[in-house]
C-alpha cells in the first residue's frame, strides 16, 4: 500500500490517538514545566511555564537523586534477577509437568494477588526482624521478590505453555536432562517474556514507597521512590526541586523502556490470558 493511501486511511485514527496522547501526557509535561520554577512562580502559575527558568533546581536535586538512583539499582537489580529466575523455574514447572497438587498449588500462589499490601506491612516487618535482616539488602529485596513472583509465575507459565512440545522432545531424545532442557531450550525462547516481566518488576520496585521506608534504617541508602520526596516537608515543600527530582527519577526508566519496548511487546505476544 502506498504511503499516501495508508495515510488517507489512517488519519482519523491518528487524530483520535493524538488527542488521547495529549491528555495522557499532561502530567508529564506539567512535571517538566514545574521543575523549572521556584516556589513563588509555582504559587502564581500552576499549569503554564514562567520565566525566568530555574535550571538550578536540577543542580540542587541531583546530589540526593544521584545517590537514590544508585541505591535503587542496588535493590532493583537483585530483585529483578531473582524474580526472573524464580518465576522462570516455577512457571516452567507448572507449564511442563503434571504432578500431584499442581492445580491446588497454582491457585494457592495466584490467590496471593488478592492480599491487600498494607495488611502485611507489620507482620512482614516482624519476619524481617526475627531473621535479623533489618537494614540489609536481603531485607528489602526478598520481600519484594516474594510479591513479584506471584504474577511472574503466572506470566511465565502462560508463556512456556505456548512453546511447542516438539522442541523438547527432540532434545530429550539427544539425552538432555530436565534442567538442561530448561536452560538450553526454554530460556532462550522465553527472552521476550522475561523482558516483559523485567519491565513490570522494575516499575514496581522503582515506585514502591512503604516497604523500603519501613525496612531501611540508614537514610543514605533510601531508594528513588523516597528520594523524590526529600524536598517535600511536613512544614514546607520546595516544589520546583521536587518536580526536578521526579524528572530525574523517571529518566532511567524512560531510557530502559525506549530500548526494550520491542522485546517488552514480544513477551506479551504469546497472549497473556486467563
Amino acid at each position: 500500500m502506498s504511503q499516501s493511501k495508508a495515510w488517507r486511511r489512517d488519519w482519523p485514527l491518528m487524530l483520535i490517538l493524538l488527542i488521547l496522547a495529549i491528555i495522557t501526557y499532561i502530567p508529564f509535561v506539567f512535571t517538566v514545566i514545574n521543575s523549572f520554577k521556584i516556589n513563588a512562580q509555582f504559587f502564581q502559575q500552576f499549569w503554564l511555564p514562567t520565566t525566568p527558568l530555574h535550571p538550578e533546581n536540577y543542580v540542587r536535586a541531583w546530589p540526593a537523586m544521584g545517590r537514590a538512583i544508585f541505591n535503587s539499582f542496588t535493590y532493583s537489580i537483585p530483585t529483578l534477577v531473582l524474580t526472573l529466575v524464580i518465576s522462570g523455574l516455577a512457571g516452567y514447572a507448572f507449564a511442563r509437568y503434571r504432578f500431584p497438587g499442581r492445580n491446588i498449588l497454582f491457585v494457592a500462589i495466584l490467590a496471593l494477588i488478592m492480599i491487600p499490601g498494607i495488611l502485611l506491612v507489620i507482620p512482614m516487618f516482624s519476619v524481617i526482624i526475627a531473621l535479623d535482616w533489618a537494614d540489609t539488602l536481603q531485607g528489602v529485596v526478598l520481600p519484594w521478590v516474594s510479591v513479584e513472583i506471584v504474577f511472574g509465575t503466572f506470566l511465565m507459565r502462560t508463556f512456556f505453555e505456548t512453546l511447542p512440545q516438539e522442541y523438547f522432545e527432540a532434545a530429550r531424545l539427544d539425552g538432555a536432562n530436565e534442567f538442561s532442557l530448561l536452560i538450553r531450550i526454554a530460556v532462550p525462547l522465553a527472552i521476550p517474556a522475561f523482558s516483559t516481566l523485567a519491565i513490570l518488576n522494575l516499575l514496581f520496585s522503582w515506585n514502591d514507597i512503604i516497604w523500603p521506608l519501613v525496612a531501611i534504617f540508614d537514610s543514605e541508602r533510601l531508594p528513588v521512590s523516597i528520594g523524590v520526596l526529600s524536598f517535600a516537608g511536613a512544614w514546607s515543600t520546595d516544589y520546583g526541586v521536587t518536580f526536578a527530582s521526579y524528572v530525574i527519577a523517571s529518566l532511567p526508566l524512560i531510557i530502559i523502556f525506549a530500548f526494550t519496548s520491542r522485546r517488552f511487546m514480544d513477551g506479551l505476544s504469546g497472549g497473556l490470558s486467563i
Binding site: 492480599i115 530436565e178 523502556f257 497472549g271
Partner: protein, 316 residues
C-alpha cells in the same frame, strides 16, 4: 459472548499435551523447580498472611501480643456503618474504574491495531507505554488541580464554555466525589491493559481479518464480531487484575479526599489503614483485611466461572 468464536491461537496448546508419560521424569523434578518460590512465599507472604488472619481474632495493641477475643472484631465490623458504607463505595468505584480502564484500553488498542503503517503502530505503542513511568503521586497531584474549586481546570473549562454558571466543588460533594476519583488519569489508555489487548489483537490471524474485510464487513463490525470474542481471555485477565486493584485501592482516597465528604469515598483498604495505623487498632484492621481478601477471592472465582461456563479453551 457470541458462540461463533474460535479458540484463540494461544489456546491451541492445551495443557494435556504437556503431560509426560508416567515414569519419564522423576516426580521430584517439578518440586525442585518450585522450591525457591515456595520458600520465599512461605516466609514473606503465607506466614505474614496467616499472622494477619490470626490477629483478626485478637485485640492487638502493638507492640504487645494480641489478646484473643474470638469473633468480636468481626461482629463489630459488620455493625460498623463506616465499614458497611466503604463496601458499597468500593463496589461502585471498582465497577466504574474497571469499566473505564477496560473500555479505554480496548479503544486505544483497536485504534493502534487498525493503523496500516507498521511504523506508526510501533510509535503509538511506545507513546502509550512511556507514561507508565509517571508515579501515581504526580498523577494525583495533577488531578487534584483538575478538580479544584474556583480555579480548577475542569471548572474553568466548563464555566468558560458556558456549560455551567458557577464552579462546582467536585471533590467536596457526596454526589461527585467518588465519580471524580474514578475518572482520575482519564483517558486511562496508557497502561498494562492496553499492551495486553494490543498484543492479543496482533496475534489474531490476519487472514481472518482480511477475509472479513473482503466480505464487506465494516471495520467497526469486525471489532465486535471478531476481535472482541477472540480476546476474551486477555480481557478476563485485565478484568481480574483491575478488580483486584480496585478492591484494594487507597492511594487516591488518601491523597484526594481522605474518605470525605461524609465517608462517601471511604474505601475498605483506606479504612483498614486508618483503623490500624491512625487509631492503633491493629486487630480490627486485620479483620478488615481478612474480609477484603475473602471478598476479592469470591469475586475472582465468580469471574473465572463466568468466563469458563461456555468456553472450550484452556483451563487454569
Amino acid at each position: 459472548m457470541t458462540q461463533k468464536s474460535k479458540p484463540m491461537p494461544s489456546a491451541k496448546t492445551e495443557p494435556s499435551r504437556w503431560k509426560l508419560r508416567s515414569g519419564f521424569v522423576p516426580i521430584y523434578v517439578p518440586f525442585l523447580f518450585l522450591i525457591p518460590a515456595l520458600l520465599l512465599l512461605l516466609s514473606f507472604r503465607y506466614i505474614p498472611a496467616v499472622s494477619a488472619i490470626f490477629h483478626s481474632f485478637t485485640y492487638w495493641n502493638i507492640p504487645e501480643a494480641g489478646e484473643f477475643i474470638g469473633l468480636d472484631n468481626y461482629r463489630a465490623l459488620f455493625d460498623d456503618p463506616i465499614f458497611i458504607k466503604s463496601l458499597g463505595n468500593i463496589l461502585k468505584y471498582m465497577a466504574g474504574r474497571t469499566a473505564l480502564v477496560l473500555v479505554m484500553a480496548f479503544v486505544g488498542a483497536e485504534l493502534v491495531y487498525n493503523l496500516t503503517s507498521d511504523r506508526w503502530r510501533n510509535i503509538w505503542r511506545m507513546v502509550f507505554t512511556i507514561p507508565m513511568v509517571i508515579p501515581i503521586t504526580v498523577n494525583l497531584l495533577v488531578w487534584q488541580q483538575v478538580y479544584a474549586g474556583r480555579q480548577g481546570m475542569l471548572n474553568e473549562f466548563l464555566t468558560g464554555v458556558g456549560a455551567m454558571a458557577r464552579p462546582y466543588p467536585w471533590l467536596g460533594r457526596p454526589d461527585t466525589a467518588l465519580p471524580a476519583l474514578i475518572f482520575i488519569g482519564f483517558p486511562a489508555v496508557a497502561g498494562f491493559g492496553f499492551l495486553i489487548i494490543l498484543a492479543a489483537l496482533q496475534n489474531l490471524s490476519s487472514e481472518v481479518n482480511d477475509a472479513a474485510l473482503i466480505d464487506g464487513c465494516s471495520r467497526l463490525r469486525r471489532v465486535f464480531a471478531i476481535d472482541l470474542p477472540a480476546i476474551r481471555g486477555p480481557l478476563a485477565l485485565i478484568l481480574i487484575l483491575s478488580l483486584n486493584q480496585g478492591m484494594q485501592e487507597f492511594a487516591p482516597m488518601l491523597v484526594m479526599t481522605q474518605g470525605g465528604p461524609i465517608n462517601t469515598t471511604m474505601s475498605p483498604a483506606y479504612y483498614l489503614y486508618i483503623q490500624g495505623f491512625t487509631y492503633g487498632k491493629h486487630g480490627y484492621a486485620s479483620a478488615i483485611g481478612t474480609v477484603l481478601m475473602l471478598m476479592t477471592l469470591v469475586l475472582s472465582i465468580f469471574i473465572l466461572r463466568m468466563r469458563y461456563r461456555r468456553a472450550y479453551d484452556v483451563a487454569v
